[in-house]
Amino acid sequence: MRWELDLFPERASTVAGEVDALYLALCLVSGLFAVLIAVLIVVFAIKYRRRSEADLPRPVSGSLGLEITWTVIPLVIALAFFAWGSSLYFTLTEVPRDALEVVVVAKRWMWKFQHLEGRREINELHVPVGRPIRLTMASEDVIHSFFVPAFRIKRDVVPGRTSITWFEATRPGRYRLFCAEYCGARHSGMVGWIVAMAPADWARWLRAEVAGESLAQRGAKIFVQHGCASCHRGGPSQRGPALEGLFGRRVRLEGGGTVLADEQYLRESIESPGARIVAGYSLLMPAYRGLVSQEELLDLIAYLRSLGPAGPGTEAR
């Protein structure tokens, strides 16, 4: 048995300090309240203890002033923490623009990682410190959850959709990765390591193995294999919308409305194209749900993202 007793997990990401600050502030305020209640109870209980069975205290009818006080003060404190927690949440959710991309596929019971350049790993992810990392995650089976305590991040990986989270490691080291959503018998074995390295070391690591194709290259192949190109590439045979510069743009839909062409929409359009059709087109495309694996799907999306920057039609949101 190891006689270690830590009270805090390591603090190894840019947001860890902010999360800890909120935690400590809440500890402080709730500690004050708990002590206040405890002291009042002990003092009252002792001071007004029953001295004889014949004791008959005078009734007290209550006090509107006190009631308002102990309604309003907790309310104000609660709303302050709500605001703090929410703003922190948006920091944790919104991915910085210059983030490096890593694709994650979760399946019972392992984590598969693919770097944009093509290098793949299982249950271990090497990242450089000082760069935000954007994780694009999909699940092959049930709900998993990507949890790195040292980074204070967690995100469920839900089958049927793309989940996104990000982090930026601040210190080189090995940090535990857990699956936090129960996914079956070997749930507690679905663990791994995030290895944060100095950027130069990481660049060396990335090149150490002869990288295969990049994600986008693999996606391009799948694009051709499944015959997507026959309809979605320009020229006389084009029957589907052009895909160049599509990603990140708002698209007008058949029957009114627009949708942002993000991961979720691209996934939906591949798996179930009839759900939302681009204005001016009719539904000719078969549904590819079940025909492409989650990994292929993420490769395809990486390929679509690589198809040129969003054109001048981009609407900033």
Binding site: T93, E94, V95, R97, G248, G256, D262, Y265
Partner: protein
């Protein structure tokens, strides 16, 4: 509490109205009303249900608290539907791509 209950003639009138509204909703569904057709169908259904509740189920003639119970059921269902839809409809709002 001895509320005046409606007579069969009122029941028949309500019945005729309900049949009329059924015909109306079928007709409205086949008309080309686009996005509005769902709203119209639901409004007609709500009208019909209200008629049944008020007249056949005597809420119009009974005690106020019974109406509160009836509304409570609908209200709690509205909590469920509204909050779930609020999630589903705003999921893609967050500009998750860029900060």
């Amino acid at each position: 509490m001895a509320p005046a209950h409606p007579s069969p003639s009122i029941y028949v009138a309500v019945f005729m109205t309900l049949v009329g509204l059924t015909a109306l909703t079928v007709w409205a569904a086949s008309a080309h009303l686009g996005a509005w057709s769902g709203v119209i169908a639901l409004s007609i259904a709500t009208t019909k249900a209200t008629l049944v509740v008020l007249y056949f189920m005597h809420v119009r003639y009974g005690e106020r608290f019974i109406a509160v119970v009836a509304v409570a059921g609908a209200f709690w269902l509205a909590i469920l539907v509204v909050f779930v839809l609020a999630d589903v409809l705003t999921r893609s709002w967050l500009p998750i791509l860029v900060r």
